[in-house]
Amino acid sequence: MLKYLEGSHGVSQVVAMCRPNVISAYPITPQTHIVEDLARLVGEGELEAEFINVESEFSAASVVLGASAAGARAYTTTTSQGLLLMNEVIYCIAGMRLPIVLTCANRAISAPLNIWNDHQDSMTVRDAGWIQLHAEDNQEAADLHMQAFKIAEQTFLPVMVCMDGFILTHAFEPVDIPEQKEVDAFLPPFKPQNIVDPRWPRGIGLYADPRFYMEVRYILHRALEKSEKVIKQVSAEFAKAFGRESGGLLKTYKIEDADLVIITMGSVAGTIKDLIDQLEDEGKKVGLLQICSYRPFPRKEVYRVLKDKTNLLVIEKSISLGRGGILGSDVRWSFPRTEKKDRKISCFVSGLGGRNISISDLRYAVARVEKEPVELEFLGLNPEIIAKRDM
């Protein structure tokens, strides 16, 4: 049923319908409304689950780790500093192959303190062995949670659903909220494997000496690569069950005869689509490649889609300081080294700490790369602020 609600509540309602057994989370802006609403649903008896209060994100992650290891469907949500505080446990969850779902309400990292959106937080754990899915709008954010539990429980990999903090979490817009029976038909009950149980004492993730550690890491890497197939399949099943496209590895918009392709992820894709339509009216052919699955990074699919494209513009909300754009690097490495094609890949770091990304900013970036490639530029910097400090 189409409802008008806040992005956070679209997520909390759908997560509740996924019937998690254990929820543990520590409130942090802009994730707060998700955890508040789930706590309310449990408190009022609408959702039958254990809601375990904790004193930090480190504990929240540890609780869902333990719950999942004991065979529960477990959920948590955080952002920014909270995700950084979870970091140690985040790696353990993946290494132990626990199918936990986490919502990351993407927010910038301190210092300086900033509560607004960018993608630096989830980027810090991109190598941890989690599947990371990025939502474009609040419909997709809600839908991805149904898919996330299914993907996680088929692959025994944890899934992080990334949604832009404030821009999505605090935006009110129509979201089609499913019926409980529709969710039940799509998402079967969790069948845990290798659970810890006092009747058969055993441990998981304990110790691997140099004879075994590399093999374990290799198997985890392969599991991530193989999960591409499951992500695609679950997205297709979702489309069949709910009649709309959500998730998958990537999406394209007006890419077929585009002279320039913009590559991005998250909510800015919507703004870019509006720009592409404007440019089309002006006679310019620009297309969009939108990464939904950032990890595993679908490099073969990216290559397949971009093979014949020679002018690429990456718009991303994170940076590897001292190196450059992170998504930009992933895109660059998607092309075979043997390929002789003269391909220009430009990268604009944009929207850090909630800086507004306007259509006119994006228009400027397109105009720049139509002339010459730009290795790295920060979109919309204020030179007056920089002049005082940049020695």
Partner: protein
């Protein structure tokens, strides 16, 4: 697409105003989007909230920089914040003020309307929260969103006495605007 920007101070229900307007537009069968631009989240600090209304799905996420309509919940914000920035020519500025529009000397190529929303709020709601009156006046002036839909949206968000008081405030705003037209 119609774009509305709401200016106010923390505690005046700016985000709620945006949410209610967009909710009402949704109830009228339109696509709508509402989102805040939080500053430091404290009472009294300048806050902005944005609304978009369209007949098709709204994709853009940029802040509203060139609004068709401005709703200003505190007239004194205009002394310190560039409230009028980007307002489209021929647009509308609705200000919470006891003075008449011409007395405010607003420099904009736009229609200016005022309503003493804080005064009405204190009288009917019992608290100086002008948002329901501002929305009521806005809908009454523009006809963009139906008053019935706004009433439903208010009762959904604030069931009971609080909602009823705000609906009464909304109706008062509508009466004042209609009376001016006569």
């Amino acid at each position: 697409m119609i774009e509305i920007r709401i200016h106010g101070r923390g505690g005046q229900g700016n985000v709620a105003a945006a949410e209610l307007l967009a909710n009402a537009a949704f109830r009228d069968g339109k696509f709508a989007q509402a989102f805040p631009s939080f500053g430091a989240e404290r009472v009294g600090a300048p806050v902005q909230a944005f609304v978009r209304i369209d007949d098709k799905k709204i994709r853009t996420r940029e802040e509203v920089r060139e609004p068709d309509y401005l709703i200003v919940q505190d007239q004194y914000l205009m002394d310190t914040v560039p409230v009028l920035e980007g307002l489209k020519e021929g647009g509308l500025v609705l200000v919470n003020a006891e003075k008449r529009p011409e007395e405010l000397q607003i420099k904009a190529q736009a229609r200016v309307e005022t309503i003493p929303a804080t005064e009405i709020a204190l009288e009917i709601v019992g608290r100086p929260i002008p948002n329901a009156i501002m929305i009521g006046a806005f809908c009454s002036i523009t006809g963009l969103v139906s008053l019935d839909a706004v009433q439903e949206a208010i009762m959904e968000k604030f069931p009971g006495k609080v909602g009823e008081n705000n609906v009464a405030a909304l109706e008062r705003a509508h009466e004042i605007i209609q009376k001016r037209r006569e």
